[in-house]
Each structure stands twice: as C-alpha cells, then as structure tokens.
C-alpha cells in the first residue's frame, strides 16, 4: 500500500515537471523563502505599526498587503535585481546625519536588499500576490487609464500638491524621505496609488506621508503622471 502511494507521488511529480509545472514544490517554496529570509525585515501578517517606536523599528516596507500593492511582473524583476527605492532607507531618520549645507543620507548605514534567483523570485512574487487583506480599500477607487502631459503632471505633483518635497521624480531631483516615484507606475497597481494618496493613514496609520485631501480629479492626474514617469527612458530601473 505504501509502495503504491510512493509510486503515485513519483509519477505525479514526474508528470508535473514534464509539463513545466513544478506543482509540488512551487507554492510551498515561496512561503518557505518568505518565512525564512524575509520576515526579519518585512511584516507579512500585519497590522502596520501602532506606535512610533514600532514605526522606527521597521526595517523594510510591510508586505502583508503586497497583493493589493505591487505589480507581479515588477516584483519578479526587482527581486532578481533589487535597486534602492527609499533613498534614505526605512526609517529615514535612522539613516541621516547633519551635513555642511543640510542633513544628508548616511549611506554607510544602508543595507542592500538580497537578490533572488529567477525561480525563487517567481515563487515569492506569486506568494506575495496572494496577500490581499485590503480589497475593500482598493474597490473604492475608480481609476480609468488616462494620459496627461508631463508639464501638467509636474504642475499637480510639484506645485499644487508639493509631493516632490519628499519624493524623487527623477533619479536626482526631489526629496529623499519617501520612496522614489519615478518607477512607481511600474511598481504599483493604479488603484493602490490612488488609495494611498487618498489616505496614507488607511494603509499605515503612523506613516510620515500626510493626508493632503487630494480631490478625485487630482488623484487621477497624479496616477496618470506616475505612470507616465515610469515609462520615460532615463527613469528605467
């Protein structure tokens, strides 16, 4: 009886690998990698920090709503070739020091993200995309694919809303305490960007991004602008 079961499993594994689907291993591997290598810096279960101390202790972005946030294809690519998204790391204040003209990022305190082999990146991305506890927030957003001129987008982003105070809109222009936004359109789902701009606190109650009560019209314009930025050459990552 035991032998028959073993044979059956062997055949199934062989069949699935011949078909190109490593059925038995894939899903488990993604979670195993996450549990083993990612949890020391990323929160996979929630909730987001509830005290400033917990906020300061956070070493990387929370991933418990990764499936509501990221684009899968970006995750697969980035995990194999990670590039810094937060110029001053997380928590930003731990990675700055007073400089001659202004506070500066202290690069010696920043650590690079580990790179994963392709199969692992795919398995981890697939597992992360299953984490969708905030479908309710996403469902509230009505974003329609649109276009905007760079000039108008910049006007809304820089002049009307002042977002460039904290975000880089190109590799060397803008603020440093928030994540760069010139790859945001490739990195993030449109509805997530809209929802986060509408209320950063709905996602992360103590985050140092303020709620600017941006109108629906301007949220649409900002999302269009961020998508435009990520398509520009020179902003490729």
């Amino acid at each position: 009886m035991e032998n028959i079961a073993k044979k059956l499993i062997r055949h199934l594994v062989l069949a699935s690998s011949l078909l190109g689907f490593p059925l038995v291993a894939s899903a488990a591997d993604g979670m195993t990698i996450l549990q083993k290598d990612c949890v020391t810096c990323h929160n996979l279960k929630g909730p987001a920090p509830q005290t400033l101390q917990a906020l300061w202790d956070r070493k990387g972005p929370d991933l418990f709503y990764a499936g509501n946030k990221y684009r899968r294809e970006w995750l697969v690519e980035w995990l194999q070739k990670p590039q810094r998204i937060r110029p001053a790391g997380e928590f930003y204040e731990k990675h700055i020091k007073p400089g001659a003209k202004r506070d500066e990022v202290d690069a010696t305190t920043l650590e690079n993200h580990v790179a994963l082999p392709k199969d692992d990146a795919i398995a981890v991305a697939d597992e992360l995309m299953k984490l969708k506890p905030r479908d309710d927030l996403i469902a509230k957003e009505k974003i329609t694919p649109g276009t905007i001129s760079k000039q108008m987008g910049e006007m809304v982003f820089d002049k009307f809303q002042g977002c460039m105070a904290c975000h880089l809109i190109e590799p060397d222009y803008g603020g440093l305490s928030g994540p760069e936004v010139y790859t945001a359109g490739k990195r993030l789902q449109a509805e997530y960007m809209a929802s986060y701009i509408r209320s950063p606190q709905a996602w992360d109650p103590l985050i140092w991004m303020p709620n600017k009560h941006v109108s629906d019209g301007n949220i649409q314009k900002l999302v269009d602008y961020l998508e435009l930025l990520s398509k520009e050459s020179g902003n490729e990552k």
């Binding site: 930003y92 202004r102 009307f160 105070a165 803008g174 603020g175 606190q201 600017k212």
Partner: protein, 118 residues
C-alpha cells in the same frame, strides 16, 4: 493574595499604557518634522535641496516670535496654504491629534527659546 495584587497592578499599568495613545512632541518631531526642518530643527532637513521655498528654521527666535501659538497650531494642522504660506508644508491634521499639535507648538517654543511677541 500577593499574586492577585501583582496582577491588578499589571492590569492597571497596561490600561494606563494603552490609554496613552498620545506620543511626545519630541518623538512626533523626529518622525514627521525632521525630514524637512532638520535633525537640529534649523530648517536644514534632508529633503530641502530642490525645494522652491525653504522650511522655517525653528531655532530662529526672531522669526518664530512673529507667530502666535494659534497660528502655529493652524499651520501644523491645516498646512502652509492655510496661513498663505507654502504648499510644501503639508497639513498634519490626519496624523496628529489636536492635543499632540498643541504639545508641538509648545515644543517649538523650546526650540526657538522664544515666545510670541516682540
């Protein structure tokens, strides 16, 4: 008997801690203000290089004494535009409670070592 007293004491401490959602102004400053106003409160934050308007130097007693506590409260809660200043100063009303903002205005007075008025 002794154990139950300890449990009661621990429970009271826990309740006191959880009721105290308010953070200190110094901790709030470090989290939300330092990015632009700087680690030393001198307006030289890590974000300022490309800003069209530079953040207020909170250690500048002369400039800070021209702002009343009410004005400081308003600009923190509602942002720069609310007092005809820059959009780059955002509203923090959805981040900090009114109590925390009041505490922050007093904290700013300790940074500038100044009061409102000449």
């Amino acid at each position: 008997m002794k154990n139950s007293k300890i449990i009661l004491l621990l429970a009271a401490m826990f309740l006191a801690a959880s009721a105290q959602a308010k953070e200190t102004p110094a901790d709030n400053y470090k989290t939300y203000c330092v990015e632009c106003h700087g680690m030393q409160g001198n307006g030289k934050g890590v974000n300022i290089r490309d800003m069209s308007v530079q953040p207020r130097d909170h250690t500048d007693a002369k400039a800070m004494s021209t702002r009343s506590d009410a004005e400081l409260f308003k600009v923190i809660k509602e942002g720069g535009l609310s007092i005809n200043k820059s959009v780059l100063m955002p509203p923090w009303g959805d981040t900090l409670s009114d109590d925390e903002i009041r505490d922050m205005t007093q904290y700013l007075r300790t940074l500038c070592k100044c009061k409102f008025g000449p």
